[in-house]
Each structure stands twice: as structure tokens, then as C-alpha cells.
Symmetry: C2
Subunit: 157 residues, 2 copies
């Protein structure tokens, strides 16, 4: 979620899974294809994403729990003009939106060359809610900020 | 100019000026403000630009004479959402379009903290035309590919 303050920040935690939650495929889900136009060593990323029929360009800066994030919707024409530049820096996954208490846990099941990798992300409105979050029993190790499980690393490797 | 081939390439040369061409301010000109969302060491840039009332996002890769370049027009809303992320990586200039034989020479007069710097660029449809270009007497040293005069270096410094 993007807050309306300036700069907008994304507050989230990422987990591995002990097991898939019951009835995973019954929850709302969409295919995501994303690729990176640019990745700076300092933590800046410019990402293109197609989620269902929604295309977007996202700027992210920083790492770990709290990051600056700016996102704009793109038209199909804009997206198609830029997408070829992400060749070799792409990944695909299916995102399931699993409700848990007052939260939505996004379970990402990777496809393509990362087939079999599953991670879960939870976004929070504020740092207090983030700290107090008690994960469901099917979530495992907290890998927030671990580069091994960052999308950008997976896209580049 | 962008060719329609894939990937689109930009073919250009850049010069310093021995002197300003006669009647410079009588030629069509527009203010340009540009800033960089991301700059990779490997030569990838993602640039935002406002030229007059035209806003754009440009992806560039490579250096020197011939570069891959992909550009999309942005709405004011899209531009305004991303522009704050370029803070500290911006420059402003006035671009004059000076006709010379069958070419248009773009004379960029920098404003702001690079006030006083003037460079000229000529874009070509193909490498043959690029090689055969005979500059007018008011153009000086060819600085094509010299990082000192690249916009991205000037924006970052």
C-alpha cells in the first residue's frame, strides 16, 4: 500500500512458507510478469510489471522493511514500447491473495526458471502494525530484506 | 530520431562550440528540464524529461555514437508522480534547433548550476550520414561519448 505522505513508502515483511495454506488455489490470483529497466547498486530499481491486465512502472529506492516507492499505471502502448528493454531481467509468478485476520497475505508462486520457489509478502499501513503482526502457522522464516529472495535478484540471476 | 527497427538506436555526435552561431535566439527553442530515475554503471539510464509541454520517459543503453533508446510520452499525472524521485539528479537547459544543410543542430545552453556550458548535438538517420557530416565553422571539438559532457554526468555531479 502506498501512503499519501511524501515520499511514499512501502512497509512490508517477506516470509518463506512451511507449507502452502489450505485451499490456496481457491483464493483470488493473477499472473504477474515483471522485468527491470534499471537496477543500481545503491538500491534503486525501475520495474515494469503486468499483473492481469494492469501494466505499471515502479520506482523503488532503499531496502528491507521500509522503502520509497512510486508507481504509475502505463497504457498498453507505453508498456509495449519499454518492455523489450527488460530482456534477460524478467520473472513470472502467480500471486494469490490470502486473507489472514485483518491482512492480505500475498503468496507468490514462481513459474518459469524459478519454478518451485514460493514466498509470501504482507504489506502494512504503518511500522507499528508491521511489528505486531503475528503470522499464521503456515508461514516460516522471515526473509525480509534478504537479497536471495528479492525479486530483482531472482530476475537478474 | 528513433528508427522503427528493433532495438531502436540513436545515432548522434556531440560537439563543443567555437562560438555561438549568428542569430541563435531567433531559432526555435524550448526549455528542457530532465532528471534521472536510475543510472547503472553499465550505461543504462532511465530519464524523465519535460521539453516545453511534452513529458517523456526514456530508456537508454550503451554509449558513444550509437545507443539503444526507447522513449514513451507521459501524461502530466504520470510525470508528476515520478519526478520527485529525480531530486539531486537534474539539469535544465534551453535547446535551440539550428538548421544546417539537411540537418538540425541542437544547441543546448545549460542553465542553473551548469550556467555557461554550451554543447551541440546532431542526430543522424544512419551511420553513413553520421560519418560524412561536415560541421559548420562555429562547431569545435567533437566530444561524442566523452563522459564530461554527458547529460547524466552533469546531472549527477
Amino acid at each position: 500500500m502506498l501512503t499519501k505522505t511524501n515520499p511514499p513508502r512501502e512497509i512490508e515483511r517477506k516470509f518463506l512458507l512451511k507449507r502452502l495454506p489450505d485451499g490456496l488455489t481457491s483464493y483470488p490470483h493473477e499472473e504477474i510478469a515483471q522485468g527491470y529497466l534499471a537496477v543500481e547498486r545503491g538500491g534503486v530499481q525501475v520495474r515494469l510489471r503486468k499483473k492481469g491486465n494492469v501494466r505499471s512502472l515502479t520506482y523503488k529506492r532503499g531496502s528491507k522493511t521500509s522503502r520509497e516507492e512510486r508507481e504509475v499505471r502505463l497504457s498498453a502502448e507505453q508498456f509495449d514500447a519499454l518492455w523489450p528493454a527488460t530482456a534477460g531481467r524478467r520473472l513470472t509468478k502467480i500471486r494469490y491473495d490470502v486473507p489472514w485476520e485483518s491482512h492480505t497475505i500475498e503468496v507468490d508462486v514462481y513459474t518459469g526458471r524459478h519454478d518451485g520457489v514460493v514466498v509470501a509478502e504482507v504489506e502494512f499501513d504503518d511500522l507499528k502494525t508491521c511489528r505486531e503482526f503475528v503470522p499464521p502457522p503456515w508461514l516460516g522464516e522471515d526473509v525480509t530484506g534478504k537479497s536471495r529472495y528479492s525479486n530483482v535478484m531472482m530476475a537478474l540471476e
